[in-house]
Amino acid sequence: MEKLMRLIKDLSQIGGVSGDEGAVRAYIRGQLEGHCDMRTDALGNLICKKKGAKAPAHRLMVEAHMDEVGFIVTGITESGMLRFDTVGGIDARVIIGKPVLVGPQAVRGVIGTKAMHLQSAAERDEMPQVETLSIDIGASSKEEAESLVRLGDSGVWDSAFVSFGDGFVKGRALDDRAGCAIMIDLIQGDIPFDTTFVFTTQEEVGTRGAQAAAYEVAPDVAIVLETTTAADIAGVAPANQVCRLGKGPVLSVMDKGTIYDKGLVRFAMDTAKRRDIPVQIKEGVYGGNDAHAVHVSRSGVRTLAVSLPCRYLHSPSCVLKVEDIAATRDLTAALLGMEGPAPAL
């Protein structure tokens, strides 16, 4: 578990906004050298073929996305401020006052607005439009800013990875570096059947990497390793909490992109029960993930999503519970031992 947590910590400190996942991929390649056959495809997906003890009766693909939500520099003003847009779904309410790192040199910046003292009463209660915000890197002129940052550079929140409370961790980009870390951990060990693992790109801008990867791998069965929104927080009624930290991996039956394979969900439930691994069903039809692209690939792929319950997704402070990470790894490992296609229901 210590090794897995170190992987998650390392990965959460690497910037990899959608379309700019190179640094994450390089780190993963370094971890997997000698453990599998690796190939990077045209869209930047890292496709890893791992030999198992036996050849399976079906072709299994396990995947997690490398990219994260973030920012992209769209302009530099005369006063040296960076104009930006968000990449992926970012709640405007988690941007102001946050420190960021911009570009390959990780130039430090902050996103600010005028002081509250200069705001009207109405302004204090309403989020400004993202288009009106800028990133301040402490440059006093356009020239100074241009010497540090280029248009198109990515930005990420600067957020420390921290353990806190009763077995929780907080960090940036745990969506979906936690899924990537679990896959690295599995590939570094022995597995029962030949399996293709894919670290995908561009999930946050429309599950684009997964679409190309699923076509290439052409799996019969796919498992998407993800994080999913947990709203088990103050002020949210139990019926709206979706899933809860500490209750194990989350199995989706339906979200905004996918209706999941009932047979696989049943199989995963039974497997968890047999292995005494806690598991929960996602309550509510929200969000979406790479399954959206994978399950409609070619003539269709039976697809399952196994997700870590995660608070404050798409913010600088994603929160996971360590015991959920362990349980998700254990359940995924158990699912790799699928003897043949689970019975369709």
Partner: protein, 347 residues
Amino acid sequence: MDGKKLALTLAQCYGVSGDEQSAAHVAASYLKGWGEVRSDALGNLICTLRAPKDGGPHMMLCAHMDEIGMIVTHILPDGFLRVAAVGGVDRRTLLASPVKVLGREKLDGVVCSIPPHLQRGDDAKKIPPMEEIAVDVGLSFEQAKEKISLGDRVVVCHSGAAMGEHCISSKALDNRAGCAAVIRAAELLKDEELTCGLSVVLSTREELACNGAKTGAFGLCPTHAIAVDVSFALTDDAPKEKCGELGKGPMIGVSPVLSREMSDGLIRCAKDRGLPYQLEVMAGPTSTDADVITLTGSGVRCGLLSIPLRYMHTPAELVDVRDIESCAALMAEYIIDRFGGTEREAD
């Protein structure tokens, strides 16, 4: 002394209003070599570098060391914390922020943020009122009760960093930047022959009606004072007439409540010595410690210097370190001009 390091070190200390001891402790470590350091009943840190002669002038340099933050008011049944604002917290910056809960032990936490999928209509634009803000410390009710007391302060973390060539960004630069300027001025003056007494007050509770400076000034009964605080530095979205500019020097306050004689003296000194400065004109009270210092006892002549700062009352406050340095230099030069023991040649 490295001004950048001094300001960042001070800014990274914890010191929400009424709970300033950590910041005071670090600030005292700089001052204690230059004079006796003491504190009063409200926690003000007071250092007298040079005692005034009986009935003689006594100059007090004052900067507040408290910072805005939050205070734990309630532990919810599921272990989340309800908090109230201490000082003017910009609620637009709170959601999903990393925080420290400053109880007997320092605990990490995150400000709860309702995820987008539960938002309806215009919710994404609305900023929740403080009553709906909660802090996630990853503890059950029982665990939280064990480790956290009502009244514990909470601060939003920001690791603090140098940015660009001259800037730094951190939480609490309002007003640790001012504290740094006052400490630097004290360093510049510590060996000067002066005809006045000289004391430094790093005041508490400024963010709540400047209550610290009231007792700090009363205890010293100075004849003159210079308050140092931060003021608005121009950003693209702010009104130009209410802002100074980063890197253009301290803003000399001009206001009916300040000593016109001292404002003019500071301006004259800056011009004479070739120090950068800007003016900050206010039509009444200044919302700084100067407002209460001027009314101490039978009245105190008081000037105000403000360091331009962007993003006030957010965790990402930003200043140009050169403004701290030139603010310190202006204070020192002004005091030497006015109370120097030996005549100086006019430049």
